[in-house]
Structure formats: structure tokens, C-alpha cells
Amino acid sequence: MSEAQAVDPAMLPVDIRDVSKKFAARQALDGIRLTMQPGESLGLLGPNGAGKSTLIRAIAGLRRPDSGEIRVFGHPAGGAQAKACLGYVPQELALYPILSPRENLLAFGRYQGLRGAALEAAVERGLRWTGLEERRNDKSGSLSGGMRRRLNMAAGAIHDPRLFLLDEPTVGVDPQSRERIYDMIGEMRQQGVSLIYTSHYMEEVERLCDRIAIIDHGRIIASGTRQELVSQTVGERQMLQMDCGAPLPPPLQERLAPWSAMVEGQCVRVAVEKPADDMRALLDLFHAHQVPVRNLNLSSPTLESVFLHLTGKELRE
């Protein structure tokens, strides 16, 4: 990372060098190297079990790497100074359901060393941020799933961290609450907080993150902006999906080879550079082989295509 060399290491939110971690026979992290820039929002994209949560826990100091080193703003991960810099939002709703939102925020604020007026101010800020001011004294367990997710975030951000780690914060949340969470994250980004956001929802990562790291089998297999990832892998070609009314005969499949078509049953996916011309040519070809085309779908390259290209499997597998 050439940019990393230009910045004071103590300013780097996260600097990960060759980190590996194994649980029994399973290699959870495999030689991870990653550097974040101040104020950067990094998305970790990968399927379940890819190593996203293990990596985020290692940054939070909750997992000890077998080898390699992780630094948070220049401090070793897991140390008191590193912990003071970061806020962690686990996948689980890590709250006290019997306590009210206000009491939960008070508890986690105290755990972060806040006292007196600073604590009260942080709690009020958290309640405003989450939109839970009117539910401040209700039991947290009685809140809706979306409200609890927001409270879960506020509990991790109560001490104004410089680095915010969010591990799939929108799991099980309805679209409306998800938008609210996106807004909350947007506010943090505006304040210059560095973010690491794990998800297997690519649209979230595309929307919220400056840079995306695709992780699979404990390795970062690609990283960059969305455009960089697309151009490095599938290119800017659009994807044409054709649903046919009959199986594709072998002669037709041979004729499709120059398009690098992917055939799955009666479905064909083809990367096209000139959509109008290519579509016309393909329809003629199918017509010549007497294979009816029932549906055509043209789409721009997505992270899903990138992931499919890199790993050979769907993101949500």
C-alpha cells in the first residue's frame, strides 16, 4: 500500500500485516494484509464463514492472531489504547434487554470511562442518533428489531470512537429501519470516523463504503473501489441473461463459445460489449437453432458479478 507509507503509522486506523488465524483444522484468516486510511470507509464483503467476523474481532482484540500483527492507530490491537480508539458493534444484539435504552447507554458509557456530564451528554446524543428519545425508558427487550439494532450501534459508539467496527449491523432488519441505519452510518462518515463494515449484502457495501475488500476462505482476494474491482475482473461489459424455452443443442453451445457464455440448464449468461449489436446477433443465432428465447435481461456489472468471477460461486452461497 503506497498510500500507507505516506501517512504517519499512528494515524492509520488499521494496519494489518500478514495475519493468520486457525480454529482447529479450519483456516479462518490466511495471511491478511490490509491498511486503512484516516476517515476511510472499508467494506468487507464475503459469504458466511469467509472470515469477516474473525477479522473484525481480531481488530477489536477479541481474537488473537496465530501470526502477524494488527495495529489500531499505531497501537497493538487488544491493548487499552487501541480499545479506547475503537467502537465495536457485534452481529448479536449485545444489550441488556431488561434495561431501558438510556440505562444500556449509561452502562456502556461507564464501561468506556465516561462520567458525569460527559456521560449524560453522550447518552442524550446516542438517543437522538438512534431516534429512541421517546422510548428511552422502555425495556430494550420490548423494542422492535430495527430499534434494537440502532441501539446496538449506539452502545458501540457511545464514546465517540475514531474507528467504528460494524459486523453485519443490518441483519434481520426491515428496509425502513435499514435506511435509518444507513443514515446513522452516513452521519459518522461525515464526522470523519473510519469505518469497517462487514456484510454479505453488496448493495450496502457499495452504498456505504469507499473501498471494498472481498474476502473468501480467510483471504482478501481483491480490494479497491467498486469501479476498480469491476474493471480488474469482469470489465465494463454488461451481462445479458437469456432464459430459453428449450435445452441448448451442442452446436449452439459451440457457437456461443466466443462470447464466453455460461450455460446453466436453459439459462445463458453472456458478457456483451455492444449490447444492441450483440443482442441482435445472439437472437439470430438462437432463432437459427430453433431455440425460443422467452426472457432477456441486460444488467451492468455488479459486485455479485465480481464475486462470481473471482470465486466461481454466488455471494450468498
Binding site: 482484540g61 477479541l62 487488544g78 480499545k83 465495536y88 448479536e92 449485545a94 456502556f108 468506556q112
Partner: protein, 387 residues
């Protein structure tokens, strides 16, 4: 559908293999221990053994015969009489009983043999003095009286083995003077001991259940979040210790205040000693609760193990059943439990009216136990930290 629900729960139980085993092992272990503690190990029946010293001031042939008969009795265990170098044998024995070093004693005063041999309806009955502490063993006095009467009848019948109605001759054969050195004059003497016994047992139940909150925190991710803050595991455990100790102190205090208000428990006049014992007992109970919670993987395991541990400790330590009624080796084994030390302290406060300074052995043992258990809990809790 009903069976499906049952099968699901069975599958969950099978997943928690430790809990599965414990659910069968706990009742067996508990049954076995209770049988040993209360039933003499299932070999010697349930006969109670009274431990006592024999003080023979008479040194006559008759008193020796009585002492010999006492020594042979299967329900009696004769302990060495206290050193009588200062203040005479009787005073030394009384002092030993007051201090709890001796549960009971039979004193054959001077002239006992002569009175026995005098016989005749007009002659005074020979006197024997029974020194007991009804707190240490309330059954000592009736048991020893009965044994002495049996011996008296046997001694009387030896020279002329005619059929004599025992009930008719008992009063004339022997005059037994019973002196309860500690219980006499006390109002509701058993209330404090009962409150202490049950109170300490429930203290352990409370702390082991409340201590299990850390298992819930680990399950729902709250523990990970806490470990990401400035609160490390050591501070977390210390904080829990403070909370549990406070909870336990209030619980025991409420119980004793209730006893004082409605059952005449003599709390007034013993407040300082009570508070000292309550605080150290609460500390030990809290650390004990944390050890159990840190050692268990699931709530099911914790429930099974804490029930077993608390009930066994309570049985051996005297919370459920007086230790003086247990076989001697079980009494000694009981000293390995926190209950026994706690109850000994409360007995000193409420029964023996001893000063707070005299509580030092119990305070020392319970405080050291609390420190050691907290250390063990901290070591066990490393499994929740970064791995």
C-alpha cells in the same frame, strides 16, 4: 406434536452432554452423601454417638465402674478430660464446654461411690452432674441421662439379679443434675442458628445463580462488547464480586431482621459480630458463585453443579442438619466447606456471646477462601478472553 416438542428438548439436552450427565449424576451423588452424613454410611445404622468427657472427682471403685461402663457404651465416645491444673477439673471442663472445645461431660463428684453403696430407702440418691451445651448437641442431655440410668440399674442388679422394675428404681438409684452451660437463660436460642444455617445455604444459591449472568452475557455477545471497553476481565469479575457480596449481605441481613422482628431472634447486642460474619460469608459465597459460573459452559450445567455443590456443602457444613449429629469423620470433613466456618462464626456470635476478636479464625478462613476462589474464577475466565 407433543412428542415432537419432547424430542426437541431431548435433542437439546443431548447437545449439552455435561448437563445431560449431571442431570443423572447429581441425584445419585447427593443421595449417597446424605446417606453417609445422616445414616452412618449405611453400615452402623442411625445410632447417634455422643462425644463427652468423664470427670471422676470421686475416684472410687463405683465411679470407675460407671466410667468403664460409659466407655464401653456404643453410643458414647469418650474424649480426654481437660487439663485440670488450674481451677480444678470441674471449672476446666465447664470452660472447655463454653468455648466449644467439648460438647458434654459427666462429672462424678466426691462421695458418689459412698452414696451409691449406702443404698436403702432413707439414704440420699447418688448424684451425677451432666454438663452440656444444648447448642452443640441438644440431644446430649437426654441421651446421657438415659445411659446413666441404664448403667445404674445394671450396677444395682449385679449383686442381686432379681427382677426389679427399672422405672420404679431409677429415681432412687441416681440423681442426675443437668447444667446447660450456654443455652440456659437464652430466649429462642435456636432461631439464630436456624437463620444462619438456612441463610448461608440460600446465600450460596443466590450467588451461584446471579453469578451465572456472565454465561448469559457470553451467549448474547454482551461479554465481547464489554471486553472491548476499558473494563477488562479482572475488573469485570471484581465488579460482579462487589455486586454479589452486596446482594448477599442484604439478603442475610433481611433474613435476620425478619427473625428479630417476628421470631425473637436476638440480633440486638450482636450486631457487630453479625455484620462481620455476614460480610465475610458474603464475600466467600460471591467468589464461590463466580467460580461455578466461570467453570460452567451453559446455564444447565451451572444449575446442576451449583445445586449439587450447595446442597452437599450445606449437608456437610451443618446448614441442613447439625454437624454434631454426624459421624466424627464427617464432622471433620465438614470443615472443608464454607458453610461450616460461617456457621461456627454465627454460633460464636449468637450462642457463645464471644467478642468480635474471637471470630478471627472464621474471618481468616472465609476471607482467604474468597481470595483463592476469586483467583480461580479469574483463571477459568481466561477462556472468554482473546483466543
Amino acid at each position: 406434536m407433543i412428542l415432537s416438542v419432547a424430542r426437541t428438548h431431548l435433542a437439546r439436552l443431548r447437545r449439552d452432554s455435561a448437563g445431560f450427565v449431571l442431570s443423572f449424576v447429581v441425584p445419585i451423588v447427593f443421595f449417597s452423601i446424605f446417606t453417609v452424613v445422616f445414616g452412618g454410611g449405611g453400615r452402623s445404622g442411625s445410632s447417634m454417638v455422643v462425644r463427652l468427657a468423664v470427670v471422676d472427682q470421686d475416684q472410687s471403685e463405683m465411679s470407675r465402674r460407671y466410667a468403664e461402663a460409659l466407655g464401653k457404651h456404643r453410643n458414647l465416645s469418650i474424649l480426654p478430660a481437660p487439663d485440670a491444673s488450674q481451677g480444678g477439673a470441674l471449672a476446666a471442663t465447664e470452660q472447655a464446654i463454653r468455648k466449644g472445645a467439648l460438647p458434654a461431660a459427666i462429672v462424678f463428684p466426691q462421695g458418689f461411690g459412698a452414696q451409691t453403696l449406702a443404698g436403702g430407702d432413707s439414704a440420699p440418691s447418688p448424684s451425677v452432674v451432666l454438663l452440656v451445651d444444648s447448642a452443640s448437641n441438644p440431644f446430649a442431655a437426654p441421651v446421657l441421662s438415659r445411659v446413666l440410668e441404664q448403667i445404674a440399674v445394671a450396677q444395682r442388679l449385679q449383686p442381686e439379679p432379681a427382677a426389679v422394675a427399672t422405672a420404679q428404681v431409677e429415681e432412687k438409684l441416681l440423681k442426675i443434675e443437668t447444667r446447660d452451660l450456654l443455652g440456659a437463660g437464652k430466649e429462642n436460642p435456636w432461631i439464630a442458628l436456624s437463620a444462619a444455617g438456612l441463610g448461608v445455604m440460600f446465600l450460596f444459591f443466590t450467588t451461584s445463580t446471579a453469578g451465572g449472568a456472565i454465561i448469559d452475557e457470553a451467549d448474547n455477545g454482551t461479554l465481547e462488547r464489554i471486553l472491548c471497553t476499558r473494563v477488562g476481565m479482572t475488573r469485570l469479575l471484581m465488579g460482579k464480586m462487589v455486586y454479589l457480596s452486596g446482594l448477599a449481605t442484604v439478603q442475610l441481613s433481611v433474613m435476620f431482621i425478619w427473625g428479630a422482628l417476628f421470631f425473637g431472634l436476638p440480633l440486638r447486642g450482636h450486631v457487630t459480630g453479625f455484620l462481620v460474619m455476614t460480610v465475610v460469608t458474603s464475600l466467600a459465597a460471591s467468589a464461590f458463585g463466580l467460580v461455578l459460573a466461570a467453570a460452567c459452559r451453559t446455564r444447565t450445567q451451572l444449575t446442576a453443579i451449583s445445586n449439587l455443590a450447595v446442597l452437599v456443602m450445606s449437608a456437610l457444613g451443618g446448614s441442613l442438619y447439625p454437624r454434631f449429629l454426624m459421624p466424627e469423620f464427617i464432622q471433620k470433613l465438614g470443615l472443608l466447606t464454607l458453610n461450616a466456618w460461617a456457621l461456627d462464626g454465627f454460633v460464636k456470635v449468637f450462642w457463645r456471646d464471644e467478642s468480635v476478636l474471637m471470630l478471627w479464625p472464621q474471618v481468616l478462613v472465609l476471607t482467604c477462601a474468597a481470595a483463592m476462589l476469586l483467583f480461580v474464577a479469574r483463571r477459568l475466565a481466561t477462556r472468554w478472553e482473546a483466543f
